[in-house]
Structures are given as structure tokens and as C-alpha cells.
């Protein structure tokens, strides 16, 4: 319909004339204009998509909170996690919600008395610096986005350049598997196919009756012939293994503080999610070590009370043992991630390096992660330079190649770059 326009015949008083003379009803006869129009374009579209971009960015930034709070490793991919997203709020000066900020309400027709409690209980605002759990502060705008771990992983890895990555860094182990490939007239006895052999014999018998060379009424046995024998044929084919096992090895000695473990955990989470994303099934083995190593479950892995010294090689030897027993490299894609603070007993360094070298041969990707600040390390090397002693970080450099990577995590924001270093893609 076309815009309906009505012409206003009367003249309007200038809005700025502030004379207010009571009723002037006789001077004119007012009417309004009606317009029916349909805008085709959604005017908010671009601003909405801009806003969504910001949310997506915020989601990526909030994922570390999720990593921190959820028990994620080993969870089913269908599990829904809530991701609190903050930071898209618009800020302005406001008064705090407290005793001094008095508000007024009305309660017409209701009984109210002084001192009465009203409304719902709210959690008390944490003071600055006391934890930053989102959602505690009243009035804080939170988006809670619910997604499954699968979706989350998709989100996380959407930024990586996957095609290139699959070519370069992502391989499956292959295995020769025997597959049936029909029947054939020769072979070994155990593969004799009785059913097929009988079929052959029956076929020959029918033909013989038809030709008159055999009379079924005669009572004579129609015997098997050499040419009736059929054997199952089995041929080898190359098959990709889609199962993987991930070893998470962590130093839980006294020097690994809670915050360091937390960093490690976040990193492990990413690795786990990524590999889970790629393989059809995945096994996770947690190995914690001090001066000796144990296989533990996830909870123990992250919460174990630290004690004892550090012998990195014990953890690695344990990995080798388990691989030997349960995960043959021909059948499994093996990933080993070692995580520690590099504080190894110096006598063990050579042994550890040898272990790393052995392991990287059978691993798809292997990674030595050191947690701690580079600065501490520099001080250390200054101090240690006199003795000529090298740290594990230096030793492992000797083994570094495309299968074996060294990664240093100082703080949370290093995780993503470290991850991309390991698997390629953009940072």
C-alpha cells in the first residue's frame, strides 16, 4: 500500500511561542497524519551482527573460566556446559547497592512495617580483589551460553587452519589388516569354505544329471572332487586407526604449585578436546610422578598432595611401560604431553632425554611443557652458568623436531599460542 498522506490544512503555531492562552478551540481543527509503510531492510541487522561478533569474541575469552571450573577431561561430548560471558556490558557510573543507597517503593493496599525484609536474598557483592567469580555482582550483565563440549571444541578450533594442519601435523597410524576378499580354488585347509564347496559339488551334480552321466536312482555316491574345493581368500589392506591414546604426564612434586597445575590443566583440556575432535575414540591416561610414577585418575591427577623430589624419567618410563602393555603403536595413535616446571634432579636429565627420544619415535606428537616464568629461568642459568649445569629445558632442545615440541607456559594467555605452535594454525 502506498503511503497515505493527509494534508494538514491548518497552520501550526510555532512551537517556540510560549504563550499559553487557555482554550483556543475555535481557531482550527486538528488532525493527525497516518502513514502505513513497510521497511524492507532490517535497520538493526548490522548492529546486531556487530554485537554478535563481540559476544563470540567474549566467548573465546571466557573459555578459560570454563576450563577452570569444569571437570572436562573424560566427559562425554554431549555434556552441556554453561559458559558465562561477560564484557559486553556497557558501563556507567552508578551507586553501589548498600545501606546508604536508599530506594523508594510502593505497596498500595498492603501492610508494610519498618525493618521488614523484602525481595529475594542476593549474594553479597565481593570486594575488589576477592575472587572474580562472574555473576556475583548485582546488576552485572551476563550472557550464559550453553553448549556441548563438541560445540565448544568446534568453537575453539574454528580458528585453526585445519586443512593445512591435517596435512602437516595430523597423521593417523596405519595398520595392515586382513580382510576377506571372496573365495578361490586354492588355499590352506583351515580356510576351506564348506558351504561354498558343497555348492560347487551340487552344481556339478545337477549338471551331471542333466547330461545323463549320473543317475540319482542308482544309489551310487556322488563324491567330492578336488575342483569343488573353495577356500576363503583373505588379503591384507591398509587401514587407518582412528583410536588414540593421550598420556598426560605431570610432575606433582612440591615445586608444582596449585596455580601451575591449574595452567597445566587448562592446557591439557585444550589438547584433549582437540584430539577428541579428531579421533573416533580416545583413551586418556594420567600419570603423575615425583621420584616415582603412578597411573591415577583425573581427579587425583589435579588434586594430589605434592611431595617428594623429581625424577622426570620415571614418568616417561611409566608411559613406555603402559604403551608396551596396552597400546601398541601400530594400533594406536599415541600422544604424550609432559608437563612440569623443569625442576629435575640433574642426574636424571640424561635419562629423561633418552626417554623422550625413545618416546617420540612412537608418538604422533609429543610435547614437553614447562610451566614457569622465563625470568626465573634466566636467574637460574646465571647462577648455574658457573657449574656448567644445564636444565631439562636445555636438554630437551636436543631432541626437538617436528614430532617433539617444547612449550613454555607462563600465564594463561600463553596457552593458545602454545597450542597453535603444537598443531599449526593462526594464533
Amino acid at each position: 500500500m502506498l503511503p497515505t498522506r493527509m494534508v494538514i490544512a491548518t497552520r501550526w503555531k510555532s512551537p517556540n511561542s510560549r504563550t499559553h492562552n487557555l482554550p483556543q478551540k475555535t481557531t482550527y481543527n486538528k488532525m493527525s497524519i497516518f502513514r502505513e509503510h513497510k521497511t524492507i531492510a532490517d535497520r538493526a541487522a548490522s548492529d546486531r551482527s556487530r554485537h554478535r561478533q563481540k559476544i563470540e569474541k567474549a566467548i573465546k575469552e571466557s573459555i578459560r573460566d570454563v576450563v577452570a571450573e569444569e571437570s572436562i577431561i573424560g566427559q562425554s561430548g554431549k555434556k552441556k556446559i554453561k559458559i558465562p560471558v561477560k564484557g559486553i556490558k556497557e558501563h556507567r557510573f552508578t551507586y553501589g547497592t548498600n545501606e546508604k543507597n536508599t530506594q523508594v517503593g510502593s505497596a498500595q493496599g498492603k501492610e508494610v512495617r519498618q525493618g521488614q525484609r523484602i525481595g529475594h536474598r542476593r549474594r553479597v557483592t565481593p570486594k575488589e580483589g576477592q575472587g572474580d567469580k562472574p555473576g556475583d555482582k548485582p546488576g552485572e550483565e551476563m550472557y550464559e551460553i550453553e553448549m556441548s563440549l563438541e560445540e565448544l571444541a568446534g568453537y575453539l578450533f574454528s580458528d585453526l587452519e585445519l586443512p593445512e594442519l591435517e596435512k602437516k601435523n595430523f597423521k593417523f597410524t596405519t595398520q595392515e589388516k586382513m580382510k576377506r576378499k571372496g573365495k578361490r580354488p586354492y588355499g590352506i585347509r583351515p580356510r576351506l569354505s564348506k558351504k561354498e564347496t558343497i555348492k560347487q559339488k551340487l552344481r556339478r551334480k545337477k549338471a551331471a544329471i542333466k547330461a545323463g552321466s549320473y543317475d540319482p536312482e542308482s544309489g551310487e555316491r556322488f563324491t567330492f572332487h578336488e575342483s569343488d574345493l573353495r577356500y576363503k581368500h583373505i588379503a591384507p589392506v591398509q587401514k587407518e586407526n582412528t583410536a588414540a591414546v593421550v598420556f598426560f604426564v605431570m610432575d606433582v612434586s612440591g615445586s608444582m604449585t596449585k596455580s601451575k597445575k591449574f595452567l597445566a590443566r587448562s592446557f591439557f583440556f585444550l589438547l584433549y578436546q582437540f584430539l577428541n575432535h579428531k579421533y573416533s575414540s580416545i583413551d586418556v591416561v594420567f600419570i603423575s610422578h615425583t621420584a616415582d610414577a603412578n597411573e591415577v585418575n583425573e581427579e587425583q591427577f589435579f588434586t594430589q598432595v605434592p611431595n617428594g623430589g623429581t625424577l622426570v624419567s620415571t614418568g616417561l618410563v611409566k608411559v613406555e611401560e603402559i604403551i608396551e602393555k596396552r597400546y601398541h603403536p601400530n594400533n594406536w595413535n599415541i600422544y604424550t604431553f609432559y608437563c612440569g616446571d623443569g625442576d629435575n634432579w640433574s642426574i636424571d636429565n640424561k635419562e629423561a632425554l633418552a626417554s623422550f627420544r625413545r618416546l617420540k619415535q612412537i608418538n604422533q606428537t609429543m610435547c614437553y611443557t614447562e610451566i614457569g616464568r622465563l625470568q626465573d629461568y634466566r636467574e637460574y642459568s646465571l647462577f648455574a652458568s658457573g657449574t656448567g649445569e644445564k636444565r631439562l629445558w636445555d636438554w630437551t632442545k636436543l631432541a626437538e623436531d617436528k614430532n617433539f615440541k617444547r612449550i613454555r607456559l607462563e600465564e594463561h594467555k600463553d596457552i593458545w599460542p602454545a597450542f597453535t605452535k603444537l598443531f599449526g594454525g593462526r594464533t
Partner: protein, 438 residues
């Protein structure tokens, strides 16, 4: 499609307008745009202005409105009208006729208020649509400029939006720039007979504390590029345009409710229409338990004035008052008790709101004053530019009135101010009786 026709709409409009005139109202011509609910949401998100500039925050509010509407958490407003000449208003196709009748009568009330209330005298209703259009075009130009781009524009706009209400609260007072202010004080000193201005320091900057943070930054930040300055001024001008509406929310809504009630009662609408009207009207002006419904409060007070002093007085009140003076003058003990107003505050230790006072003989004045402290912009802190040091440090101070700032928010806003000032900023406030500097 709806159960009404355009002709019907025009018919009712004519009657409404005639009745409005009989009441002695004087309003801008109204242009009703008939739109569907989606367009309505768009108009709501952009504060009703059809030509508003683009910014992600409006996309955000659109999404919120849509979600709430789809979930049935909130309906869409019946009425939305812009302070412009002609006044633009929106009618939703989906609404039935009785709603339109109420809306149109209500709009006449609002438009009359815009045109007559003294707070609105400097809002430039004649040109506002074009001004916003021009501003919107400039913002778009900056966003598309390859040397500027969306990100940089947003950085400035985000920061401006954070302090958009740090503007003077008395509408219509023109801001003097430093030069003008200096001349003003020089004249004062020259003609000083009381010797009061003798020791006044003419070299300080600003000469008097400036509550217009945006204008001050636009005027005194030498590092700003022209487009940045322009953006700051655009946001400042928009705020100044909206301040009168924030200052008169209770009155404006009360007045419009009173007018629509009067008009519709006199319209002689069919019985079934009338029932719908009553239902809607009561929904709009009902008290909200535990809160203040501005429609309800304003309506009640205007009814009270009419009962005791006549409608002529109401017309005078709608012209001269704002919410603050309106409540101060007309909210009396009787009304306080009738509305059962009470004050409450949040007790952090308990995690509960606790009622502090209920309306009574000795308490109603406290309650009224506390109410005044929370109406319009009084619910937002005042931040003043105290000084601009020679080394370029900007010194800001929160005018503490007993209520402490929310620190986490203030921190974020402080960052935004830093973005705008591009130099040292110092900001002081009082938290739990101690001076706090950012």
C-alpha cells in the same frame, strides 16, 4: 491483518483531536506510522528515533527486546512517541482498535507535554529528526573511512556512552566555553562592588567546576582528531536532547495517562471497546508492588491536583514543573500514605533488602526526599571536572552525596575516560568515608 481499517483510525483520530482541543491542549501535529511488531522492536532499540546512528549497543538492545518478547517476558509498548515537530509515533498493526484509541489519546498528552513543558524549550523539536540524520550519516562516514574504521569509531562511542549522562541536569542552560566563561568572570570582577570576586583566579581551568564531561573533553583535549571531537559532540547533543525526558518521566507519563483517560471517557466508544480500554488503562496505571510505577505515581498526583485545584492548575503544572519540583510541591502526607510509599535499602551482611521507613506523620517527608533522590538523573552520580593541570592532568571528582559509587563499574568507566582524554586522569570519590583515588 487487523480488524480495523485506516478510515476508522482516522475517524477516531479526528474525534480525539477535537476533544484534545476542547481540553485546552496544544500539541505538535502527530504522524502515526503503522508498523509491524518487528519494526516496532527496531524503533524501540533505537530510542524511537528513525534516523539514529548505528552502534552495536542498539543491536544488543534489539536482541534483548526480541528475546523477551518471544519468551513472553514482556509485551511491546502500546505507545512510543518522539519529542519532535511533528511528533512521530508508532502504531502496531497487530494491536486491536481499542488499543489504538488509547494510544492516540495518550500520544496527544505526550505531544502536548513536549510542546509546553518548559524543560523541553531548548530541545529543538523542529529539527531533531534532521539533526540525528546528519549525525547518523557522519558516524557512518567515519565507520566507512578506511583511515578510521568501525573499531576506532566504536572505541570513542563506547567511551562516550559510558559517560553520556555526565551532562548538566538543568535543561536549556547554554554551556559557556572557556572563552565565554572568562569574559563573564572578567565582567564580574570589573563591576565588582562587593569585593567578593577580588581574589578570583582567572587563570584556572575550568573557571567553575564543569559537569559536562563530554563537552569539556571535546573542548580541551588537544590530541583529538576532528572526527573524534565530532563523535563526542554527537553523543553530548543526544544526551542534552534526552535529559528533559529523564527529568520529567513521572510527570510526562502521569499527564499522558490523565489525558487519555479524559479523552477516552468523553469519546463515546462502544461498550466492548470501553471494556478493553478499562482493562488496558488499569494495566498501565496500576501500582507495582515494591517499586515505583511512574505512570501510576504521576497519574495519582495529577488526579489529586485536579480534584483539589481544578484542571486549569494541572495545565499550569504540566508547563512549569519537572519531576523534582513536582514531587516536592505536590506529594504530600495524604498521597504518601495512600500510595503506601516506603524506603528500603540493601543490607550487604544479610543479603536482603530491608525496609527503613514507612509513610507516617513524621517520616513522609524523608520518604519524599529519598524518592526525589532517585528520580530521573538523580539516580546517577554527578562527576565534575575540577581542574586541568598545566601538565595536562585531568582532575575529576565525584560529588559525594552520601551514596558511594559502585567501584567495579567506576573502574570500567574510568578506563573509558582515559580512552577519551588520552592523558593522565585522576578521579577521586569517597568510599566508606575514605577518599578513594583511581
Amino acid at each position: 491483518m487487523s480488524d480495523w481499517s485506516m478510515e476508522e483510525l482516522q475517524g477516531w483520530d479526528k474525534k480525539i483531536c477535537t476533544l484534545g482541543e476542547t481540553l485546552g491542549l496544544d500539541w505538535y501535529p502527530i504522524e502515526y506510522e503503522i508498523c509491524d511488531y518487528k519494526e516496532m522492536m527496531g524503533h524501540m532499540a533505537y530510542t524511537g528515533l528513525p534516523t539514529h546512528y548505528r552502534h552495536w549497543s542498539y543491536g544488543k538492545s534489539f536482541d534483548r527486546i526480541q528475546t523477551e518478547y518471544n519468551l513472553g517476558m514482556s509485551g511491546l509498548p502500546y505507545e512510543m512517541i518522539i519529542n519532535s515537530n511533528p511528533s512521530i509515533s508508532y502504531l502496531m498493526t497487530e494491536n486491536p482498535m481499542p488499543t489504538h484509541i488509547l494510544t492516540m489519546a495518550h500520544c496527544v498528552g505526550h505531544s502536548d507535554f513536549f510542546k509546553n513543558n518548559r524543560m523541553f524549550s531548548e530541545t529543538g523539536a523542529d529539527t531533531v529528526i534532521d539533526r540525528f540524520k546528519a549525525a547518523g550519516r557522519r558516524v557512518k562516514k567515519y565507520m566507512e573511512d578506511p583511515l578510521i574504521g568501525v573499531d576506532r569509531v566504536e572505541r570513542i562511542l563506547d567511551a562516550c556512552h559510558a559517560v553520556r549522562f555526565q551532562v548538566p541536569r538543568s535543561p536549556g542552560v547554554k554551556r559557556r566555553n572557556h572563552k565565554g566563561l572568562k569574559k563573564y568572570y572578567e565582567d564580574l570582577m570589573r563591576n565588582d562592588t562587593t569585593r567578593r570576586w577580588e581574589s578570583f583566579d582567572l587563570n584556572r581551568l575550568p573557571l567553575e567546576p564543569d559537569s559536562n564531561l563530554l563537552a569539556f573533553i571535546a573542548e580541551h583535549n588537544r590530541f583529538l582528531e576532528e572526527w573524534e571531537r565530532d563523535l563526542i559532540r554527537i553523543v553530548e547533543k543526544e544526551s542534552l536532547y534526552f535529559i528533559p525526558q529523564a527529568c520529567t518521566k513521572i510527570m510526562n507519563e502521569g499527564w499522558a495517562c490523565m489525558i487519555h483517560e479524559k479523552i477516552v471517557n468523553a469519546l463515546g466508544i462502544p461498550d466492548d471497546y470501553f471494556l478493553s480500554f478499562i482493562r488496558l488503562h488499569n494495566q498501565v496505571v496500576r501500582p507495582h508492588l515494591g517499586r515505583i510505577n511512574p505512570y501510576h505515581l504521576g497519574f495519582k498526583i495529577f488526579k489529586y491536583i485536579e480534584k483539589n485545584q481544578g484542571f486549569e492548575e494541572c495545565l499550569r503544572v504540566r508547563e512549569t514543573h519537572n519531576d523534582e519540583t513536582f514531587l516536592k510541591t505536590y506529594l504530600n502526607e495524604e498521597l504518601c500514605k495512600d500510595l503506601n510509599l516506603f524506603t528500603y535499602s540493601f543490607h550487604q551482611k544479610e543479603g536482603f533488602n530491608r525496609i527503613t521507613e514507612v509513610s507516617g506523620e513524621d517520616t513522609w517527608q524523608t520518604i519524599r526526599d529519598d524518592l526525589i533522590k532517585t528520580v530521573g538523573l538523580n539516580s546517577l552520580p554527578v562527576v565534575l571536572v575540577k581542574k586541568l593541570e598545566k601538565d595536562g592532568t585531568l582532575i575529576l571528582e565525584h560529588e559525594h552525596d552520601g551514596r558511594d559509587l559502585e567501584l567495579s563499574e567506576a573502574n570500567k568507566v574510568f578506563e573509558h575516560i582515559n580512552d577519551l582524554w588520552q592523558g593522565e586522569v585522576r578521579f577521586t570519590t569517597v568510599i566508606e568515608d575514605e577518599t578513594w583515588e583511581f
